[in-house]
Subunit: 481 residues, 2 copies
């Protein structure tokens, strides 16, 4: 049964519905029988694998290694966290038994009451507790530091975070690590996702719990809302103290280790979708597309198809030799028009179509997904044309996103103006007195938060738009996902 | 604190203790605070990553794609399996609650009794139930087949299996898939792990539950015991019937889909260790070593170190250009002798050492891990020498394992002889009448099982060594892990 290619809801009509339609119709993911848990379908997973492999390479280039920590954490481990949290209540999966058995009345499967665990286990909500208890045994002296270990944790749901917990011998080294990683994220976002980001530091209210500083990259989605796309944290010695992780320094003195942590998340897939896609479907950057080129034959009979197959196999070979990933879809049970819509929906950067007239003329039709422009070009050296075109698409979608963002960054100088402008979305550059009270008031009045205190740009001091108190520099406010 | 490099237990003294020592001392893995769950340390994980990436490439080359299925399965899903199993009792982690909270008396964290799940969830023991319930929605017609989806599931413990469940439109295609995958495994085992394997089909008793045929590759460890190193299963329509997954074929008729499944496991790390390693530590095949070459400088003062650093950086660059992975360990807080032992223990295939006399002579010392032989060679084009040496080591350790196995394959013609020979370990080629009863008797008497009915080799019929009944061909018996 051919899939129904119903229209997507348009972005202007209902942005959130457009996104949900797109996830389903482009075969990225679907709901599973377990509430809150999604099945990530092969096409969606292929995008994530591309992202993960690239990030993994970048992490390894910067000296990090991977390891694996257990999925289950004894309940008592979380008690240590609870000591620090008033009114602690943690949403997590609690494992209480280790066996199921047949009900005696034949009604199905029941939990075996005799198989109760002595201590309950928790499916790790974060890995901090187990990682620190492990590090404690790994760290004796400064020679054992730094520990630069990642874990690609299990994807429990879209939006799940990965945590990378690192231990350092000095404060300077820890700060440098946190700064370096936010640069790595920014490079990944801009060079691979073609998504412009603003680097900066979080306000105190928006910091990761327990962090001394949280660095962030912030992207702007097409609906004018911000999406935090990666964070790294300088944690000082707080965690080491909580878990009693000490080391002997070069002078023989005992000290607590200095910690950082950073994480990426499958939220990045959401960011990728929302940054570039349009009412026709996904638009993928060539560097992260599962396949960069699709070729569709247009034929009336089997003889024509054979001729086209032969022609195309030469083109495919040349494209692959240039490192271009390509799918030739000559499946006989779907019409070219159906295939065109399907690959447009799936955001394949370049679509080639070839028919019998093309064979005669030694030409091929080239359609680019980003602009939807079509062109007929010669088959001679078409592989080089396409390789260049992919580079061009990668740059063009970055530029488009960058220009959009530029149009949405506005300086705002009074709170009245702010209340009007925030309704239009975008990044608002404002003076703020740096207090949590003012930030809370703004959030309550307008739902906007400080996205970051940017590293770059205008550093001129001014006066807070709300209180009139001194402001060190303009910061970025927005409504956020 | 420098790690204590205590001697490993020797293999001849206690093979099992040798293995456990090696896992800990070579920094592969360690026990975690959760019983039965290990922490896989960076060096161990790097080996697994190499294996996984290579296998993933081979799976993709053969047309498979990856996806992600939820970690949690509703309890009722397992009831369907229970229908088929008398006295069903499943060891698995049962999630009953979704929240922890602080105890009111301040004694720590407790399970929130108000947060009981309506239906218990199970942390997937296998993914079959959730995968089939998902496929049911994906499959309408023959056009949706085959589904060739993998999942790299979460590593819960060393020895954990991955399952890949595939759906096909015809029986022939399903059988071909199962056969193809056992060939892929065999190629991976032999070409990458340098581990010779025997391909064959399992006896009925040793089949995967529900399979019509189970194909296997069997390797022989150094203690003479067999290790099943990969299996693929032709499942017929049994699973499709259990989960009611039907499709419309090309003629418009409804039929149940034909299924296969196959899996690899982190047991492969165990197989790798046990096949090649010796009383000095790990021996890794160059194709799977986290780094293939380590370079250790030998110097008396900082000036010498500077000169060596300079010389080595040229060599490192040339090695990397040839695709050789290399670690230069010029850390100042450990002595060369300590480093030599450490890298021997970790199985780095080639160790280079360079001192001031080498600088004068433009030479470098090359030590190979497999034979422990040392040689002093010229630095001119040393990168080509090493590239060739790595190829030679890969071949040599395969040959060594192959020769060992050859010496341990013996034809046995009477049950009395069998009982004596099985005590010596190895693969015994015997005639067997093909019945489960005889197999059970042999297992009870000797702990040996049919490892496989080999695809290759002598196909001459004979008489069962136990019952004297006809035997179609010799099969392989061994004691197994």
């Amino acid at each position: 049964m051919a899939k129904e290619l119903k229209e997507l809801t348009s972005r202007s009509k209902d942005y959130s519905q457009w996104y949900q339609d797109l996830v389903i119709k482009a075969d990225l993911a679907e709901n599973s029988a377990v509430r809150g848990c999604m099945v990530i379908k092969p096409y969606g997973f292929a995008i994530w694998e591309k992202m993960q492999r690239q990030l993994d390479d970048m992490f390894k280039e910067t000296g990090h290694v991977n390891a694996y920590f257990p999925l289950f954490i004894p309940k008592s481990f979380l008690s240590r966290e609870a000591d620090h949290v008033e009114g602690f209540a943690k949403e997590c999966a609690v494992v209480t038994h280790y066996r199921l058995k047949n009900a005696e009345d034949g009604s199905g499967v029941i939990v075996d009451p005799e198989a109760k665990l002595e201590e309950e286990l928790v499916v790790r909500p974060t890995s901090e507790t187990i990682i620190w208890s492990t590090y404690k045994n790994w760290i004796q002296s400064y020679r054992d530091l730094p520990i630069l270990v990642n874990q690609w944790a299990n994807v429990v749901r879209l939006g799940n975070a990965y945590s990378f917990v690192l231990a350092h011998a000095t404060s300077e080294e820890a700060v440098a690590e946190a700064e370096k990683m936010i640069e790595v994220y920014a490079r990944f976002a801009e060079d691979y996702m073609a998504m412009p980001v603003i680097k900066g530091v979080k306000s105190e209210s928006e910091r990761f719990a327990g962090a001394i500083d949280t660095y962030t990259i912030e992207a702007l989605m097409q609906d004018g809302k911000a999406l935090q796309s990666g964070t790294s944290h300088y944690l000082g010695q707080n965690f080491a103290k909580a878990f009693d992780v000490q080391f002997t320094d070069q002078n023989g003195n005992r000290d607590f280790v200095w910690a950082t942590s950073w994480g990426v998340s499958t939220r990045l897939i959401g960011a990728l979708i929302m940054t570039h896609s349009d009412d026709n479907g996904l638009v993928l950057p060539p560097k992260l597309a599962p396949y960069q080129v699709v070729i569709v034959p247009i034929y009336k009979n089997n003889e024509q198809l054979q001729q086209i197959n032969e022609k195309v196999s030469g083109i495919v070979e040349k494209l692959k030799a240039l490192g271009v990933s390509v799918k030739y879809d000559n499946a006989d049970n779907k019409k070219p028009g159906w295939k065109f819509s399907e690959y447009e929906l799936k955001g394949v950067p370049v679509r080639l179509a070839i028919g019998s007239r093309d064979l005669e003329n030694n030409t091929i039709e080239v359609a680019r997904r980003d602009t939807l422009a079509k062109d007929t070009v010669s088959c001679d050296q078409v592989e080089i044309y396409i390789k260049d075109l992919l580079d061009d698409i990668q740059k063009n979608i970055y530029k488009k996103a960058f220009d959009y963002r530029t149009s949405q960054i506005r300086e705002v100088n009074s709170y009245d103006e702010f209340k009007i402008e925030i309704e239009k979305g975008g990044f608002l550059l404002c003076h703020w007195d740096g207090t949590a009270e003012t930030e809370a008031k703004i959030k309550e009045d307008t739902k906007a938060t400080v996205r970051c205190i940017p590293f770059e740009g205008d550093k001129t001091p001014g006066k807070c738009m709300v209180t009139g108190k001194p402001s060190a520099q303009r910061v970025i406010f927005a409504r956020a996902y």
